[in-house]
């Protein structure tokens, strides 16, 4: 190995300087440091930056290897460590908490096995509501986004005037936070009746469509949850449309022309050529939308304002952990959410990796 290693003075000196500067930084910040600067604590940030400076001496040394793979790996190393700790390490830590009896402010790692999971599934009505709501929301959200998204994508494929403008409008909601849209939608879907009727109900009332007036997301269970799908679809149908538009655009015009020559009408072209070719797009859209809906949190926070009938696992985890200090249960819910997403995403990632290796 050392045959391919040539000591050069310039990088060596640079490495030593970086090492000393970083080391001094660590010494400085771990000693007295700036503990309070404009109300913020910069000790850890200082330590982190110092450690990175100190670490950077290693890639500098690595430039002296003939093989640049060493340099590549040393440069990637901080990100790899960050992901290893903050994703995989923390998942393992969460899993450990979920097997414990930790309830209260003091950590308690007493092993109780699968008890938290057992309790969630067997004696927890709230978690049952969560599961039902997640199922309703996921199915409705995915179907709604796919149908509207595909429909709009096909419409915008008709070479109409103002296509770009329509596309821009349909994608606009993607740039707004779930919180802001949840707040606005909770006003649009205001359930008040009589003289206090407002929001969309007021439009219905003034149009004489009294039978359309609805309690929206405050309807009795489980219908309330169905209405939370509306803002979610509003927010992501445009995105689904954009995915489909990308798919449609990648289908060559020659293929359509050939079908037309063979006597196919426009409907048949979509039915027998374009739709089958869009299947991969549908698959990735379903995976992306499903993983979003399994994690849904902020939209329901803004819309439901703590209404237990609209509870979802993301919210239950939050309240049981940080309001009730039931850490073990919170961890178990978090891990269950992770498993549900992983089942969906891992095959997708593995397939993605395989197809890349082939190239």
């Amino acid at each position: 190995m050392f045959k391919h290693f040539k000591v050069r003075s310039q990088p060596l000196i640079l490495a030593i300087i970086l090492f000393i500067v970083g080391g001094t930084g660590i010494f400085f910040f771990s000693g007295n440091g700036i503990t309070n600067f404009k109300g913020s604590n910069f000790t850890s940030i200082g330590l982190l930056i110092s450690a990175l400076v100190m670490y950077s001496s290693i890639p500098v040394i690595a430039t002296m290897f003939q093989s640049e793979t060493v340099l590549s790996v040393t440069l990637l190393f901080p990100s790899i460590v960050a992901i290893a700790v903050f994703v995989y390490g923390f998942i393992a830590w969460s899993a450990r908490v979920s097997f414990s009896a930790w309830k209260g402010l003091m950590p308690d790692f007493t092993w109780v096995g699968l008890k938290q999971y057992y309790n969630l599934f067997h004696n927890d009505p709230r978690f049952m509501i969560d599961l039902r709501n997640t199922l309703i929301f996921t199915v409705g959200f995915i179907v709604g986004c796919l149908v509207i998204g595909l429909g709009l994508a096909i419409l915008l494929d008709q070479k109409l005037k103002g296509e770009a403008l329509f596309r821009g409008i349909f994608l606009l909601p993607m740039s707004i936070s779930f919180i802001a849209s949840g707040v606005v939608w909770s006003w649009l879907m205001n359930p008040a009746t009589g003289s206090r009727t407002t929001g969309i109900n007021l439009i219905f009332k003034s149009l004489g469509l009294n039978s359309f007036i609805s309690l929206w997301h405050t309807s009795p269970q489980p219908w309330g949850m169905v209405f939370t799908i509306i803002p979610a679809v509003w927010q992501l149908a445009g995105y689904t449309m954009a995915l489909y538009m990308g798919g449609i655009r990648s289908i060559s015009d020659d293929l359509r022309e050939a079908a037309r020559v063979d006597g196919a009408n426009e409907f048949e072209i979509y039915r027998y050529i374009i739709l089958p070719m869009l299947q991969p797009v549908t698959l990735s859209a379903v995976i992306i939308l499903a993983h979003m809906s399994l994690k849904i949190f902020d939209l329901i926070v803004a819309l439901g304002r703590g209404d237990i009938r609209l509870d979802v696992p993301g919210i239950y985890m939050w309240t049981t952990t940080f309001a009730a200090n039931n850490y073990a249960q919170g961890a178990a819910i978090g891990i269950l959410m992770l498993v549900s997403v992983a089942v969906l995403v891992i095959p997708y990632l593995v397939q993605n990796m395989r197809s890349e290796t082939e190239i």
């Binding site: 994703v87 919180i179 997403v341």
Partner: protein, 273 residues
């Protein structure tokens, strides 16, 4: 010909209906935020204002000003640092592949999909232990770490499209790994920097879970403050609508003026970039 006119009229009708659905909440936000106080009433919610007034904005701004500031302080360094890190990672993982680089990339990518509830307890305890809990630097740090997957993905896909021949020519001229980055890759990167910075800006600005759990009240970003405002019974809903518009305005403006780049980031999130 007449058939075409009929079908096109029908298409436009559907598109206009869809437009009404997509613009309804935004129309309501804008409409309400310019109404004077005395015209704000549940029954006249949809009527046009008789004159333009900006009192609601002033009232909403009074409530949200510190939080808008917090959001900017958090989002600007976060998006820039994220982009730099993603650019380096993307370059190494696309142009300097080694034996396990595809596996490592997939393992990094998985971090993009995890529900953050599954790492929240360790994260909070860890941030408390290193004294970054409650503060904006801590939130910046967390967003950068969990932004690594998406930023790496976007840059990797972008760099994969840069032909290897250019790099090989550079190598023959004696350029090293970092030399190639500096003289060839980085000068070609501005479009993808725009995509990633805009993406991270929007994501971090709109993010709620980390923000509500990792910051204390004086450091709340605007999403948390808006949610809090919506929960209080004291705020009139016309002010609330103006507050929503204010909170959404930075990302809306980014979308309106830099939509092209925003869309590319959006598409990169679907993996096959």
């Amino acid at each position: 010909m007449t058939r075409k006119i009929v079908s096109h009229t029908f298409y436009y009708l559907i598109l206009l209906l869809a437009t009404a659905f997509f613009l309804l909440p935004i129309y309501l936000m804008v409409l309400t935020s310019v109404k004077p106080f005395n015209e704000v009433d549940l029954n006249t919610m949809w009527s046009l204002p008789t004159a333009l007034h900006f009192e609601n904005f002033v009232a909403a701004y009074k409530q949200l000003a510190p939080n808008l500031g917090n959001s900017f302080i958090m989002v600007i360094p976060e998006s820039i640092l994220s982009a730099l890190l993603g650019s380096l990672n993307g370059y190494l993982l696309s142009k300097w592949r080694f034996k396990y680089s595809n596996l490592i990339f997939s393992l990094i990518l998985f971090g993009m999909f995890i529900p953050y509830q599954s790492i929240l307890i360790p994260l909070v305890k860890f941030m408390q232990a290193i004294h970054l809990y409650g503060d904006l630097p801590g939130l910046v740090f967390v967003h950068i770490i969990y932004g690594i997957p998406i930023t790496t993905l976007i840059f990797r896909n972008y760099y994969a499209g840069i032909s290897t021949e250019i790099l090989e020519a550079g190598r023959i001229d004696g350029a090293s790994l970092l030399g190639l980055y500096r003289h060839i890759i980085f000068p070609l990167s501005p479009p993808s920097f725009a995509v990633v910075i805009i993406w991270q800006f929007t994501q971090a600005w709109n993010e709620f879970l980390f923000a509500v759990i990792l910051t204390n009240q004086s450091n709340w970003p605007v999403t948390v403050a808006l949610n809090n405002l919506a929960g209080s019974q004291l705020v009139q809903w016309n002010v609330l609508m103006a507050a929503c518009l204010l909170a959404a305005l930075p990302t809306l403006l980014v979308y309106l003026f830099l939509g092209r780049y925003f869309l590319r980031g959006l598409m990169a999130g679907s993996l096959k970039g």
